[in-house]
């Protein structure tokens, strides 16, 4: 699973993409959801938990916490940016 990182998430993780090992890496056995991904990433990179708004896209569509994801999906972490 590839996670593309935008804005501050790139700085928090330290690169512009993150490759996630497959299978039940973030705790769930069969299904994985965006919510589980959020929790897993929050453990790996606690700074991410501080973000009030962090949009997650699955295959270029905004995903809510219940969205199911699999190893072939392309994920993106999108925080707001403010610069003008």
């Amino acid at each position: 699973m590839t996670i593309l990182l935008f804005g501050i998430t790139k700085d928090i993780v330290g690169s512009s993409t993150l490759s996630m090992p497959s299978s039940s890496e973030f705790g769930a056995k069969n299904t994985k959801t965006v919510k589980e991904l959020r929790i897993y990433l929050g453990k790996m990179y606690p700074e991410l938990n501080k973000l009030s708004s962090l949009a997650i896209a699955v295959n270029n569509s905004y995903a809510d916490d219940d969205t199911i994801i699999d190893n072939f999906d392309e994920i993106a972490l999108i925080p707001p940016v403010s610069g003008g």
């Binding site: 593309l4 935008f6 804005g7 501050i8 790139k10 512009s16 501080k50 973000l51 009030s52 708004s53 949009a55 896209a57 270029n60 569509s61 905004y62 993106a76 999108i78 925080p79 707001p80 940016v81 403010s82 610069g83 003008g84």
Partner: protein, 358 residues
């Protein structure tokens, strides 16, 4: 002249004279005349938008020049709004400009935005961005939002024909220091040029009703990889209806300044003999209207950058002008230049003081 002027776009099958007329009839408000606002305004003005509103209160600083390419070294210390409007008028004399030398805030947002059909948000802080969203939702106006950071940019058209709003994507305003705000993080100079130009493109599409407006779509531009991604998102009914603005949006201004109201100032002006007051009006204004002469020194705004401060650091230094506008700019200049001093703007300036004294 007009027919010839726009023929390169009116020749286009998908544009034509009808779309040109729609641009001419349009009233577009651009918030911020910085990295995003200046390219957006240049193109909107060039393409023939009839009425352009601009809100900006900053002055031109050296660190602006790497990305705000309309401003020159000769403009340092001058008002962005005045400098930009002079340039835009020479670019297109037919455009009608409505200018607001202020920051958008909770008290003026609804009144200002209500006078326009479309808003282009090029502000540099989250407070203003959420305020723009909420005001546009209340007033049912679409807005073209652009934002930049580092080598990246984001673009979308929110609140367009019932489409999603900024809060549908980012429900909560980031807290202070959570995400770089107010341009504290770097940005490569050309990135706002790209995103601001895309904002002008989307604004024209909305007004002329051509193409596919980026509503419900967030364009993510990564300059280093030269990658565009478009993320689809939908409206959350809870965010498409807003009845009133919030109590507070934090500081809508990236450089908050201390102010004193004219009543309080008048009291200390009368009672204290050793006040530190700088009158930032021009030498001529100061000479012809010597009402501050007894206690103030005159340093015109455009000389503040070079001026050597020889005042007591332990006492406040008040800045005054005719209306309170130039003095607020002056406070910002001096705050940046002289750390440790406390500069205070006299709100309303001499105009307010004269009314009080009558």
């Amino acid at each position: 002249m007009e027919f010839n002027r726009y023929q390169r776009q009116t020749n286009l099958n998908d544009f034509g004279p009808e779309a040109q007329q729609k641009l001419k009839d349009a009233r577009i408000l651009v918030i911020g005349a910085g990295g995003l606002g200046t390219p957006a305004l240049s193109y909107l003005n060039a393409m023939g938008v009839g009425t352009l509103g601009i809100i900006e209160q900053d002055i031109i600083e050296l660190t602006n020049l790497q990305r705000q390419v309309l401003y020159t070294e000769a403009d340092l210390g001058n008002s962005k709004l005045k400098t930009l409007v002079a340039h835009l008028k020479s670019q297109n004399s037919a455009t009608h400009f409505i200018t607001y030398e202020t920051f958008l805030n909770k008290d003026n947002a609804l009144e200002i935005i209500s006078q326009f059909d479309l808003v282009v948000d090029g502000s540099d802080n989250f407070s203003t961005r959420y305020l723009v969203n909420d005001a546009c939702v209340i007033l049912n106006k679409p807005f073209v939002s652009g934002a930049i950071q580092g080598f990246e940019g984001q673009l979308s058209v929110y609140n367009y024909k019932g489409g999603p709003t900024y809060r549908c994507l980012f429900p909560n305003m980031p807290l202070a220091n959570e995400i770089p705000n107010c341009n504290v993080n770097g940005v490569l100079g050309v990135i706002p040029g790209i995103i601001g130009s895309l904002q002008a493109l989307e604004a024209v599409k909305v007004v002329a009703q051509i193409g596919e407006v980026m509503s419900g779509k967030l364009v993510l531009f990564n300059g280093l990889l030269h990658r565009y991604q478009i993320m689809r998102f939908s409206a959350n009914p809870g965010n498409t209806i807003i009845k009133e603005l919030k109590e507070s949006y934090g500081s809508e201004n990236c450089y908050p300044i201390t102010t004193i109201n004219s009543g309080e100032f008048l009291k200390i002006w009368k009672s204290e003999d050793t006040l530190q007051v700088i009158d930032v009006r021009t030498e001529e204004e100061f000479k012809n209207d010597p009402c501050t002469k007894s206690k103030a020194i005159n340093i015109p705004l455009n000389q503040l950058m070079e001026f050597n401060l020889d005042m007591d650091i332990n006492k406040p230094i008040y800045l005054i002008c005719q209306s309170g506008q130039r003095s607020s700019t002056g406070v910002k200049i001096l705050q940046d230049k002289f750390e440790g001093f406390s500069f205070v703007n006299v709100a309303g300036g001499l105009n307010k003081l004269l009314i009080l004294q009558k």
